[in-house]
Symmetry: C2
Subunit: 205 residues, 2 copies
């Protein structure tokens, strides 16, 4: 044995969070016990507590990781410097693609951990969704200014509809054991949704 047999705390901590995120998606957030996590990492169960004093500290770290991943994903969608008419669609599509590859997010969103057990986590996710709503609302506002969407459209309400589309779709996906293509289905439904926002009654001057 020439190699290392231990890892540094920093490495381990990151590794645990990464595996927790994966495991939460695979077996469900409530089955992600410290034992299951330790097994997946390859250390003993109490070893977890060397890095995270409380289990909720793991959830906090996972939430931060998810937040970072989402920000990254949204930023990538924005960086593409698309015509604003496509931004909304790309935003939703890339978000759905992300959910598909990171099923832990909808799983956590539907978990007892979030809805009953862990108030801090609930607030964190509520805030994350609020930020998403804000982004959507802004993009819709720009579409209205560009006269592609109806002038009388309330951007906040429209954003809630798009958000509900995503969440409702994710729920259906989960209830149907993830047996259809989230992105394809979402794309089709979004087309229909956006058509309803279009400036048909009041054609541009």
């Amino acid at each position: 044995m020439t190699g290392r047999t231990r890892k540094t705390a920093q490495e381990r901590k990151g590794e645990i969070v990464e595996i927790a995120l994966k495991l939460a998606g695979e077996v469900g957030p409530d089955r992600m016990t410290t034992q299951a996590l330790a097994d997946a990492v390859g250390i003993s169960q109490p070893g977890i507590f060397r890095h995270f004093p409380k289990k909720e500290d793991i959830w906090a770290a996972v939430a931060l990781r998810i937040s970072a991943l989402l920000q990254e994903n949204w930023a990538a969608a924005h960086r593409q410097d698309l015509p604003s008419s496509d931004r909304l669609r790309v935003f939703v599509t890339s978000h759905l693609t992300f959910l598909k590859t990171t099923p832990a997010i909808p799983a956590i969103l539907f978990s007892r951990e979030l809805h009953a057990e862990n108030e801090a986590l609930r607030c964190f996710f509520a805030d994350m969704i609020k930020r998403a709503h804000r982004s959507l609302s802004d993009m819709i506002g720009e579409e209205i200014k560009a006269r592609r969407f109806c002038a009388g459209l309330d951007p906040d309400d429209a954003a809630y509809l798009v958000l509900a589309l995503i969440q409702g779709l994710a729920m259906r996906w989960s209830l149907n054991a993830r047996n259809f293509d989230l992105v394809k289905e979402g794309d089709r439904l979004l087309s229909l949704q956006l058509k309803g926002f279009e400036n048909s009654q009041l054609p541009p001057a």
Copy 2:
């Protein structure tokens, strides 16, 4: 003491289901332990098992009760013999009113019990939602026939949007600790959604 101090099995069974439904909404489906249920009913914890051999039998009974309540609610919405143009709106509104007074339903929909633990329950709810989708789809189809909705509208997809509206709204309601008026918010969003379905591009002949 002239009155009875014990109840018949049938009475007790119904009582337990009713209280389980209430409790699932109040404390969350995963905190509705047999102990909590027994306390609420006013008997000892093992007393529950005299009436339901397994806990999942309680969930099955609760699911049946919910199904019956929903059917009743939908039937009531249909009995009103409304112009078909209002049926859709009444359907959604009365459903939201029902969710508001029976918060156990969204709670169960977001529970681990349903998504991970209890396959039978998941299928039961998936089927229930499928029936709701069918109803919505049918109503939208009639609106298209009546030329109030756009001829090119896919009734199935439109129904998914309405369903997502309800589910997404319920999720937001739950995430925000039920701090807004579900029905009022839903009514406003539904108006916007339905406007998007209207026959604006192809005015009636």
